[in-house]
């Protein structure tokens, strides 16, 4: 994916579920701060985190145009196709398997 260019309007907080603590029976989340520009998709935000903040955040995606459904994820509790879903501000992102 190409770089997101341009000046950002503000910084958003993105909570991403990174794992599950079996002993404590708790989901593990990590929070990231991402410069936000209107017109960014959820996938743009995740890709920004992978590219600039945390190379360990692996995102599963393929076509990036809403055709293949590989990048389905859960955004603020709702299933979304991350490549076509516009980012609207602070959000919590969880893997789709939890929803199913």
């Amino acid at each position: 994916m190409s770089e997101t260019k341009g000046t950002s309007e503000r910084v958003i907080r993105v909570r991403v579920m990174r794992g599950y603590d079996a002993n404590a029976k708790e989901r593990i989340y990590k929070e990231y701060e991402v410069p936000f520009t209107r017109g960014m998709s959820v996938l743009n935000v995740l890709d920004y985190i992978y590219t600039h903040l945390d190379h360990s955040l692996s995102i599963y995606y393929s076509c990036r145009i809403g055709r293949c459904n590989a990048c389905d994820t859960v955004v603020n509790g709702k299933t979304a196709e991350s490549c076509t879903a516009p980012c609207e501000g602070d959000m919590t992102i969880e893997p789709i398997a939890l929803k199913r």
Binding site: H55, C63, A70
Partner: protein, 593 residues
């Protein structure tokens, strides 16, 4: 302990070409195994097909009874359009077979359950004398071949990236790869292999291709001794968004594609409609290669838009026409493009007032693995089919012909590989080769935190590809690119590793990118060196210092082969069966004197 998957025929790639190959092999009594980097039906380029599959219009009329088909067309006329469109660089024997088999490809899709009534529509794109595009958008045809693969009981190994082919006694005897979900090393032992991995478009930052098309098939074939041709001809589509970020690299066929009915005007930052300098008669309605070169000239010469594109304006149309522009277009290619609700990113009101920002994007790979009409490579046991093969499209592909190519040549590769497999003896793989490849694959993970992360290097490589080996090429730029590639190869590739703390074997993208990077670099080197050698401009390869098409001297295939671990280039005459090329140097884009 490493799992060895035994099969009679290994097909690498699961979509249009790979699925067709496996289905056809199964029909010939051979048990194939598909291995795919993604999940069948949910990866690869086929699902992204915007519109049509080309078949000569006469067959569409006589055999398929499609509305809008024109019986005046013929296979011979389709052949001629392909060769002219390909600027006479096509292998004409392959083109003859392609036009002959095209109706079989459409019939196969219908037999597998593609929704026939939906297909009852024919598109007429530029470069085609007659309307030849049977309506076949990706999401409509994908379920058809997925069903047929299941029906034929083809084994499908998903989320597994094949990294290299195994060879023994001069033959291909299998492949190795990585299970991306578990990090497990996999060995495939097979009598024959079909490569159906598509193109290498991801070497560019702007591309309509899906994430996994990093040229792995080209790279593994090359390393196994297969020859490749015409790699300097990746094709560019004039018109993807470069802004807003959510639409970056998304194409806008309803505005800029030569298949579109309405055309935006392309303007530079001086407000000039610059196509007047390139195609004064047809303006934006010219072939995709010329449009792309014109756009990139503006961008690289500093007359582009703030986000690295040019402007596309509709202000020449009355506002009340712009309002209804999309009402009489198919919604799948307008505001609901792909899965997008485009209006969430670009407002219709804004379209009346403001220009969009667009740039060309890498869309398709004209060159590729060299095959015979029987889909064989020069390495026994190795076959290739679909976009990964070279020679079909020459220097430029006509709109709608990629879908035809993947089904026609997938089916053929499957058939001929099955015939080979049923006669061949199964050979063992060499344990030493497997050990070496396993070590190579694991190195970036084992060196965790000690080396260089592939993440910024991938971006650096894509930027280099875009600026120096992209749409517009200069001698100096290509030379700089080659020395930069050499530097990355020497200084960075041996040190690639995942970052500290990132040693997970469960879908570790940084690890995957470390494995893909050498493939991308190899493919970029092929494009750059091929382009530097070709001292002319033809189709998708534009050299600024050599702006004419040199038909007498350069109607030649560039052939790449690995000789004693060196990348070597030679030229060979193009296979001509029917249509002789022009005999004089002609201006870029012209095909007749």
């Amino acid at each position: 302990l490493v799992e060895v998957i035994e099969t009679e025929l290994l097909v690498i790639g699961s979509e249009g070409a790979g699925a067709s190959a496996a289905i056809e092999a199964a029909r010939h009594g051979v048990e194939p195994t598909i291995v795919t980097k993604g999940r069948i039906g949910h990866c690869g380029a086929t699902v992204t097909i915007d519109g049509d599959l080309d078949v000569d219009s006469r067959s569409l009329h006589d055999q398929f009874h499609l509305k809008g088909a024109d019986p005046r067309d013929s296979k011979a006329k389709f052949f001629e359009d392909m060769v002219r469109g390909g600027k006479f660089l096509n292998n004409q024997r392959i083109v003859e077979t392609h036009v002959e088999d095209a109706p079989k490809a459409l019939q196969a899709l219908i037999d597998w359950g593609a929704p026939y009534p939906e297909l009852n529509r024919v598109m007429h794109a530029s470069g085609h004398t007659y309307a030849r595009g049977a309506w076949c958008p990706g999401p409509k045809i994908t379920p058809a071949y997925v069903n047929e693969v299941r029906k034929q009981n083809v084994k499908v190994v998903e989320d597994t990236m094949v990294t290299d082919l195994l060879t023994n006694e001069g033959r291909v005897v299998g492949a190795v790869g990585l299970d991306l979900l578990t990090g497990a090393f996999r060995i495939f032992r097979s009598k024959a292999v079909v490569i159906a991995t598509g193109g290498g478009m991801r070497i560019y930052p702007y591309t309509t291709a899906p994430e996994e098309l990093s040229g792995d098939g080209f790279a593994m074939a090359y390393r196994a001794g297969a020859e490749l041709i015409n790699m300097e001809f990746p094709m560019f589509l004039p018109g993807v968004f470069v802004w807003p970020p959510g639409l970056t690299s998304v194409d806008i066929p309803f505005i800029l594609s030569t298949a579109g009915e309405f055309q935006g005007w392309m303007l530079n930052r001086n407000g000039e409609r610059f196509m007047s300098r390139w195609a004064p008669k047809t303006m934006e309605w010219t072939t995709r290669d010329i449009c792309s070169v014109a756009m990139m000239t503006e961008i690289l010469e500093g007359r582009g838009s703030p986000h690295g594109g040019i402007y596309v304006s509709f202000s020449h149309l009355p506002k009340n026409l712009v309002d209804h522009l999309f009402d009489w277009m198919d919604p799948e290619i307008a505001w609901k493009y792909g899965g997008f609700d485009v209006e969430k990113y670009v407002s219709k009101e804004g379209l009346r007032e403001n220009a969009l920002e667009a740039a060309p994007a890498c869309h398709y790979w004209n060159g590729g693995i060299r095959i015979t009409v029987n889909s064989e490579t020069n390495v026994p046991g190795l076959f290739a089919g679909g976009e990964v093969q070279g020679g079909t499209m020459g220097a430029n592909r006509l709109s709608g012909n990629a879908a035809t190519e993947c089904i026609v040549w997938g089916l053929r590769a499957g058939r001929f590989a099955a015939e080979y497999s049923s006669k061949a003896k199964k050979l063992d793989y060499r344990e030493s080769q497997v050990k070496e490849l396993q070590a190579k694959l694991r190195k970036p993970l084992e060196d965790e935190g000690k080396g260089i992360s592939p993440v910024p290097i991938r971006l650096e490589l894509q930027k280099l590809a875009w600026e120096k080996v992209g749409v517009l090429r200069t001698t100096e730029g290509l030379q700089q690119a080659i020395s930069e590639i050499e530097r990355i190869k020497k200084e960075t590739v041996p040190k690639l590793s995942v970052s500290a703390g990132n040693s997970s074997t469960t879908y570790n993208k940084e690890w995957i990118h470390a494995i893909e990077l050498p493939n991308m670099l190899l493919v970029l080197e092929m494009v750059a060196r091929g382009a530097l050698m070709r001292e002319e401009s033809r189709g998708a390869c534009y050299r600024r210092e050599y702006p004419e098409t040199d038909y007498p001297n350069w109607t030649k295939e560039t052939v790449i082969a690995k000789v004693r671990d060196q990348m070597t280039f030679r030229t060979e005459p193009v296979t001509i069966t029917k249509l002789p090329p022009p005999t004089k140097k002609l201006p870029y884009g012209a095909t007749s004197e």
